[in-house]
């Protein structure tokens, strides 16, 4: 079996960020790493985050740093990845992607202890970077310019120190003196040698300064000073003319300023009121802002509080560190202050946020309340503060992130034909249940009802120079109304348009005339309200019309056409009566003017000839006027045609070249896209088709991000547009629309005005490029598992938090979901405030019944304090026919990581969505997995698998198998087979022997795998995922399967063969490394008629699918494409065998833990679309195809899923 692996939703989690001007000078941008993808974002002036480019790296990015060569105004990016190589990237504006400038190998690949890549620091003046491993190795690379001012990189200079653990490294700002790097180090050699264990207890941490001597070209250990044993992070302080230089050393509860030959200055970190003093507080993130009149730092603590830190200094002498409370935001992986006045907070989990600074002053000293505390006989004052809602920051935008997806289900609970994805996301108080639907999210700006059902709607500008539209024109069967757009939308009667007839088209003609086409003629309204009219000869009735700013063509009811052009004085002149040789005309369009041209060159006509439908292209050039230049047969009657220029590749504004396309919307709901030669008008022989819906497809030209785009309306609405240099066609998540037009006003610069039944709606599309749009519902604790109550379509969600006190949690959250967090001005919302750590083995947990359609909580079952719900399933019991039960397993006072303990099995009866308590069964282990099986309940208790039956007072244990290697974490069943996932030993196949009442392991997997999720794909095959980010399929060999099913009695004899595991071994048939921990797997289809696929959700919030190929030919094609593409992505020149931008080889990345087997990497294949046209052509030729065909194949694979 060959599978095609494709990421559907890129991961949302952010692992590290780098700030700089990458695409152009003064463009303040942030590069973010999502682990294996790199993204460039830019907050615009309005505070909306714009995603500029996203790139797959085929490696794990662990650290990033930006640097700028002296005298330059753009930044380079350095990546520290798992490739054993350092790569230097530059953003190429032309190709809208990062390109590798340098790639230097220094060690083995993989995230190893002593191979650098974990920490990266650049010299503030951009002369060198230091890249370091967790232990021992540190390398310094020196950057320079060569004669042609290209960036050069030196060979590495070593600054290794054996037996040393690194916590943090930074580049110290020393101006143009020799670059200095500071490292926070811990030496373990004494602890390893001391038998008494004393050294380990009294260990030391040191701050070491490494000086890069540019003259001698080597690195010297300049100074090494002991620091607080609980130090965790370094922060460089601006130097040279901007500040005193040196570093801040963050430790638990305090921050110290350090510089060689400078006395230490120490300050205590202010604490939240009520936070126990024995609970240490760490700073985990920082950012700083340099201004003309000084600099300040923002620090974030591990519980989310932001502090403003300034230094009091005189010349180079620091006398005081001042720390004040600033605001509280979600706990971040990194925070970045932008020079444009924004703060980007890359949350550890959940959505990322962009805040605008309202003030950078922070709170006054008066907000801080010193509390005197006696520690070891000394009285010290510790500043305290009360967290409050945001005062200095204003939330302006969010970047959605599903991270972490802990459980996920693909189901159609809303009855929409297309299944939705329900994902349990988040951690602690920021947990959510999110409903994902394929398509772009649409925001309603306005909805107004009209007296009857309008037929169509247009918007028109008053002049070609205007940015906003002037009128909205709505037409009914026998009337037209005109609305003027201003602060409000009002009906007007002085527009000059004919109101007493139906309208066929309204548009801007020339610079400032308006054209209305109605069945009885053409009406031109000049800017001075002069009106001129044209009436078709012989009382002809106009049926169809196509216009651009200079040309008009109409088709009459008798299927003749008349073509007009605008003359120099702004008068429409009849130019010709194009002939296409009879037949019914069904659709028309004229090509757009294009920049600087006064005439669209082509006319497209969809007409019938002898009962079959064709589209013809007529030339409008004076040289070949009205010649039919090409034609194409259509499979059905065209409802609508659209000639439009969309740039494929870089956006037009960024220098991309537009391609002329003919879109044909057919009556049977199919959209065709054909490339048109812009010179000759020839239609390309290959075309794309896509089924959009059950209604005839109507096409409308609109603008999306100032680029031309097509809105296609059928029973679903779709948008075809260019996003980040790629053509995309995406459905809108909205009800059926009948007619649409682009809309621009001051309040809504880019939207659509649409007709749906008797309403007029103004819509905008948000978050372009998004594959799924989401609705979320808040939960109170980390969601662990879910079960579906089929009858009512409700979810049961287990919410369980470790390290949390149930009593306090109850008090704090009362019920978050129900009263949507009181808007109390002085109280910080609980989701931001978080919770006080309760300590190890303390749990808070509840079971919630949710109606995902209504987004409403139906019932909450509170568990006893310290009881943690871990597993759930809906079960039926053979002696309680017709009743459904919900069982969930809990652990009491459980220690994380421990494999022993005790707990309960709770049983509730289910009626509709109502759960009623039946009984509670004590259990001598931790029930990690439950599954209903043939009228009984399978429970994984530690390393045992047990079968329970329903009893009156409790569940009754019937039989048990204790031979699961370590700990049962997943159970699934199909027929009489049971598939059990072990925490470290992959899948075991079991069978229940009814006669002997035995559960028998008859086969298992040969690989050790740390299972997180499993689902049976067919009777003999199981798909599984492990903690390290692998997905695999394991299958029983045919003969084993036959033997087992033929001789049911024979299975008993396999028992007792403990030494080598089970009697039979399953074979691995598919193996693939995703690159992030997969927590959920399901076999499902994502669209009606789509192919069955294995859908997975990851810790980073990514969603992907593995779908089977339909033919061997496809497999060969994609295997070859993969082979050609390896190494091409991001390489500046073609390298026959190279690597992605981070220097990791794709094949070795996908074979991280086990060699990749029978999976084609769709993410790699899709990088074909980002290659330069010449490279695309070369690869396509090697595959005996055209680039168009390759792109079509790629699109088809994606379309089969979504």
């Amino acid at each position: 079996m060959f599978l095609y692996a494709l990421t559907l939703q890129r991961s949302g989690a952010i692992t590290c960020t780098a700030y700089g001007n990458f695409s152009a000078p003064k463009q303040h941008e942030i590069v973010i790493s999502h682990g294996k993808t790199l993204e460039l974002i830019r907050p615009d002036q309005n505070g909306k985050i714009q995603s500029i480019c996203q790139m797959e790296c085929f490696g794990l990015i662990r650290s990033m740093a930006s640097f700028r060569l002296p005298g330059s105004n753009k930044d380079y990016l350095v990546l520290g990845a798992d490739s054993g190589r350092i790569s230097v990237l530059e953003f190429s504006k032309e190709r809208n992607q990062f390109e590798r400038v340098h790639l230097e190998t220094y060690g083995k690949s993989g995230c190893r202890r002593i191979v650098p890549g974990q920490f990266l620091a650049s010299d503030p003046k951009g002369r060198a970077v230091m890249i370091s491993a967790i232990e021992k190795q540190k390398l310094v690379y020196v950057f320079n310019r060569d004669a042609s001012s290209k960036l050069t990189i030196s060979s590495p200079l070593e600054a290794h120190k054996a037996s040393t653990i690194h916590f943090s490294i930074v580049g110290v700002d020393v101006g143009f003196d020799n670059p200095i790097f500071a490292a926070l180090e811990m030496d373990y050699s004494d602890a390893d040698a001391d038998e008494t264990g004393q050294s380990a207890e009294e260990f030391n941490k040191v701050l070491t300064f490494y000086e890069l001597d540019l003259g001698l070209n080597h690195v010297v250990r300049k100074a090494s000073e002991p620091i607080d044993a609980a130090s965790n992070m370094l922060i460089p302080v601006p130097g040279d003319t901007d500040g005193p230089s040196g570093v801040l050393v963050c430790a638990e509860n305090k921050i110290a300023y350090k510089k060689p030959d400078h006395e230490d200055v120490v300050a205590l970190i202010p604490r939240r009121q009520g936070m126990p003093l024995d609970q240490p507080l760490l700073i985990t993130g920082y950012s700083h802002l340099k201004q003309k009149d000084g600099f300040f730092f923002l620090l974030q603590s591990e519980i989310g509080d932001l502090y403003r830190l300034t230094l009091t200094y005189n010349d180079e002498e620091v006398s005081e560190i001042n720390i004040t409370y600033f605001d509280t935001v979600p706990v971040a992986q990194s925070i970045t202050i932008l020079k444009t006045g924004f703060l980007f907070v890359a949350s550890e989990f959940g959505n990322h946020a962009l805040y605008q600074f309202l003030s950078i002053k922070g709170s006054d000293e008066s907000d801080m309340m010193p509390v005197e505390v006696e520690i070891e006989g000394e009285t010290i004052e510790i500043p305290h503060f009360a967290p409050r809602p945001l005062k200095n920051l204003l939330l302006v935008d969010e970047m959605e992130s599903l991270s972490p997806i802990l459980d996920m289900r693909v189901l159609d609970l809303a009855g929409e034909e297309t299944p939705q994805i329900y994902a349990l996301c988040g951690k602690g108080p920021r947990s959510t249940l999110r409903t994902l639907r394929h398509g772009l999210a649409v925001a309603e700006m306005a909805v107004s009802e009209l007296p009857s059902n309008p037929l169509a709607v247009w918007t028109v500008k008053g002049s070609s120079k205007d940015a906003a539209d002037k009128y909205i024109v709505v037409t009914f069967a026998n009337a037209t109304i005109v609305l003027s757009i201003g602060d409000t939308v009002e009906e007007v009667t002085d527009s000059g348009f004919l109101a007493t007839n139906k309208t066929l088209s309204v548009s801007l003609l020339g610079d400032d005339s308006l054209l209305q086409v109605h069945p009885n003629g053409l009406r031109t309204v000049r800017s001075d309200k002069r009106i001129s009219q044209f009436t078709p000869p012989n009382k002809g009735v106009i049926n169809l019309v196509a216009v651009n700013q200079q040309q008009v063509v109409v088709a009459l009811a008798d299927h003749t056409m008349i073509y007009f052009e605008l003359d120099a004085v702004g008068q429409l002149q009849e130019k010709a009566k194009p002939e296409i040789g009879g037949g019914q005309i069904a659709a028309l369009d004229i090509s757009p003017l294009g920049a600087g041209r006064s005439r669209g060159r082509f006319l497209a006509v969809g007409a019938s000839v002898d009962g079959s439908w064709f589209v013809r292209i007529l030339s409008l050039d004076p040289g070949s006027f009205m010649h039919i230049v090409s034609r194409q047969a259509l499979p059905a009657k065209p409802e609508s045609l659209c000639l439009i220029e969309i740039s494929i590749g870089a956006a037009q504004s960024d220098g991309g070249t537009p391609t002329l396309f003919l879109f044909a919307g057919l009556e049977n709901g199919v959209l065709m896209r054909i490339t048109v030669d812009p010179i000759t008008g020839q239609l390309a022989p290959e075309f794309r088709t896509r089924f959009l819906g059950t209604k005839p497809v109507k096409l409308f030209k609109v603008l999306v991000q100032e680029q031309p785009a097509v809105l296609a309306l059928s029973s679903r609405s779709w948008l075809a547009y260019n996003f980040q240099g790629r053509y995309q066609i995406t459905p809108l998540s909205y009800e059926t629309l009948e007619y649409a037009s682009g809309f621009a006003s001051d309040q809504c610069p880019e939207g659509f005005v649409c007709v749906a039944a008797n309403t007029l709606r103004i819509l905008t599309v948000e978050r372009l490029g998004e594959v799924f749009n989401q609705h979320s519902m808040k939960l109170s604790f980390t969601p662990r598992k879910s079960a579906l109550l089929k009858d009512s379509g409700c979810f049961v969600v287990l919410e369980t938090d470790h390290n949390s006190d149930m009593e306090k949690a109850k008090e704090a959250r009362c019920d978050v979901a129900e009263d949507e967090e009181e808007e109390n001005e002085n109280k910080l919302p609980h989701s931001i405030y978080g919770e006080q750590r309760a300590g190890e083995a303390k749990w808070a947990s509840r079971v919630r019944v949710i109606d995902p359609n209504e987004r409403e909580t139906k019932q909450i079952i509170e568990l006893d304090p310290n009881e943690a719900a871990l597993s759930v399933c809906v079960a039926t019991f053979y002696d309680r026919k017709g009743h459904t039960f919900l069982c969930f397993g809990t652990a009491v006072g459980h220690k994380v990581g421990s494999r022993t303990g005790s707990g309960f099995l709770h049983t509730y009866s289910v009626v509709g969505s109502q759960l009623t308590f039946v009984h509670k069964t004590p259990i001598d282990g931790v029930p990690r997995a439950l599954c209903s099986f043939q009228g009984r309940l399978l429970v994984g208790v530690g390393s045992a698998l047990r079968l329970y039956e329903m009893g009156k007072r409790k569940l009754l244990r019937k039989c048990e198998n204790r031979n699961i290697p370590n700990l049962v974490v997943t159970i699934s069943t199909m027929g009489d087979r049971i598939y059990v996932g072990d925490v470290a030993e992959s899948i075991s196949f079991l069978k229940y022997n009814r006669i002997l009442n035995e559960l028998v392991i008859f086969a298992d997997d040969t690989h050790p795998r740390w299972m997180t999720a499993a689902c049976p794909v067919d009777y003999d095959t199981v798909a599984g995922a492990d903690k390290f980010g692998n997905i695999f399929l394991t299958r029983l060999p045919d003969n084993v399967s036959d033997e087992i099913s033929e001789e049911p009695g024979a299975v008993g004899m396999f028992e007792g063969n403990d030494l080598q595991g089970a009697h039979y071994k399953a074979e691995e048939i598919v193996q693939y490394h995703v690159g992030e921990t997969v927590c959920s797997l399901q076999k499902a289809t994502l669209s009606p008629g789509g192919s069955d696929a294995i859908i997975y959700g990851t810790m980073y919030g990514g969603i992907g699918a593995l779908q089977p190929f339909v033919s061997r030919e496809d497999v060969d094609f994609f295997l070859h494409l993969e082979m050609h593409l390896r190494g091409a992505a991001g390489a500046r020149e073609h390298k026959p065998a190279g690597e992605g931008i981070c220097g990791r080889d794709q094949l070795s990345f996908r074979s991280y833990y086990f060699p990749v087997k029978d999976v084609v990497d769709g993410d790699l294949c899709e990088t074909f679309n980002y290659l330069s046209p010449s490279r695309q052509k070369q690869i396509a030729e090697d595959l005996d195809r055209t680039p168009g065909e390759v792109a079509k194949k790629l699109e088809d694979m994606r379309n089969r899923l979504l």
Partner: protein, 86 residues
């Protein structure tokens, strides 16, 4: 000792110098375990998704866990066993 054996010995020594954790004939159980633990913690930190996984399980911040793991690398398996005098 033949020169071949010598060179193998010196090669091995070189490897042990270069790659921390390379074993030798006298590697004790404790040394082996310490290296394994340190490698494991390094892998947790290097693979961000494992860090996130543990962070969700323990309900601690990622920054805190990273610090804890680095700290635990100092002496992951307690004090070394007493050397036996031979």
């Amino acid at each position: 000792m033949s020169s071949d054996a010598k060179s193998v010995y010196s090669q091995q020594e070189h490897l042990q110098m270069k790659y921390v954790g390379t074993g030798h004939a006298d590697t004790s159980k404790w040394e082996w375990a310490v290296n394994q633990h340190r490698d494991t913690y390094a892998a947790y930190i290097g693979h961000y998704s494992l860090l996130a996984y543990n962070s969700v399980a323990e309900n601690e911040s990622i920054g805190r866990l990273k610090y804890q793991y680095l700290q635990k690398m100092l002496s992951p398996c307690g004090k070394p066993p007493k050397k036996e005098d031979d």
